[in-house]
Symmetry: C2
């Protein structure tokens, strides 16, 4: 069974025909490391389901510093939600960190599918609810936790890819400089032993 | 037409019977300023639609500092989404800032209604999509904008209540101390004249 169907079947039951219709609404794509899937000023035309590899969603501030919003690996979804939902130009970037395979669905295909198969709208409702919870938790972490605690939450959130990510990207996810991140990890290691 | 029906009718068309069924699934409540609607460790049993007044959603860190996640006034929704969706104890607080009237709906009533009136599941999907976008934008602002810019975004986001909120709550929304907030506002005023 495909990873996408597996992902969706945890929440709603689809019959064979519906599964096929769902799969037909996606396009399969291969991406190489360092490829850009989205840049500032572009419309995020497709919602991305990652089959393999790693993507990074980030923004760049006026001083050209990068801020990582999230990572996505096998079984995760990615997209600039503002841009995808409104189909207006967004202000964030999605890059490939590790060669990736992905299934891509346009907003139009998605909305057509919601009309034909209401169960898929239910799945998507649940998916978005979960994203909202994850986002609220990340916002709370950012507002109230010190960097070390944020790092522990990061390790819990990304158990499968935490050792595959560039140090500078983890630092920009945590909102600290690579230098501070390196010092902090040194301190945490010394505490462990 | 009630404010709730008006809010929902912007996205889906309901007939008279559906409107009544929707209204019947909510409980109308009155709250006084300073009342607590939710505290850490409690389950957020109901999703809250604010008819009038102002609510504040916040968390408290280990050093007892408050962090305001969001405000909600007339026509806005409030709730600890992690707790409401999972029906497990949450770690945030909702307090009444200004005497409020609200419509409250339990998760169970909500899910029953989704089964009976799929259009309401569609409305809720759209509502959650918009919350997710607002949350992603707030996270980005927090990661990358200086306090002054965050304050400008705050003013744009809450045009109708920005002058009704306690200064300390705005400061805790911006992630700065009330002292720094007061200095910053002074500076912004001087720049204007």
């Amino acid at each position: 069974m495909s990873l996408l169907i597996e992902n969706i079947s945890r929440f709603v039951d689809l019959d064979r025909e519906e599964e096929q219709e769902l799969l037909d609404s996606f396009t399969f794509r291969n991406f190489s490391a360092k490829e850009m899937l989205l840049e500032e000023g572009e419309v995020c035309k497709e919602h991305i389901f990652v089959v393999s590899g790693i993507l990074r969603h980030y923004s760049i501030d006026e001083e050209l510093a990068e801020h990582t919003l999230s990572f996505a690996s096998s079984g995760w979804w990615a997209g600039d939600m503002y841009s995808f939902l409104s189909q207006k130009p967004g202000d964030s970037y999605i890059e490939v960190i590790e060669d990736a395979e992905a299934l891509m669905q346009t907003r139009q295909k998605q909305l057509e599918l919601f009309d034909r198969i209401p169960k898929l709208e239910r799945f998507y409702r649940i998916l978005i609810e979960r994203s909202l919870v994850a986002n609220q938790q990340r916002l709370m972490e950012n507002l109230q936790l010190p960097a070390e605690e944020r790092y522990k939450r990061f390790l819990e959130r990304y158990p499968d890819i935490k050792y595959n990510l560039p140090q500078k990207d983890i630092a920009s996810y945590l909102g600290i400089t690579p230098q501070f991140f390196s010092k902090m990890k040194g301190r945490l290691l010394r505490e462990e032993y």
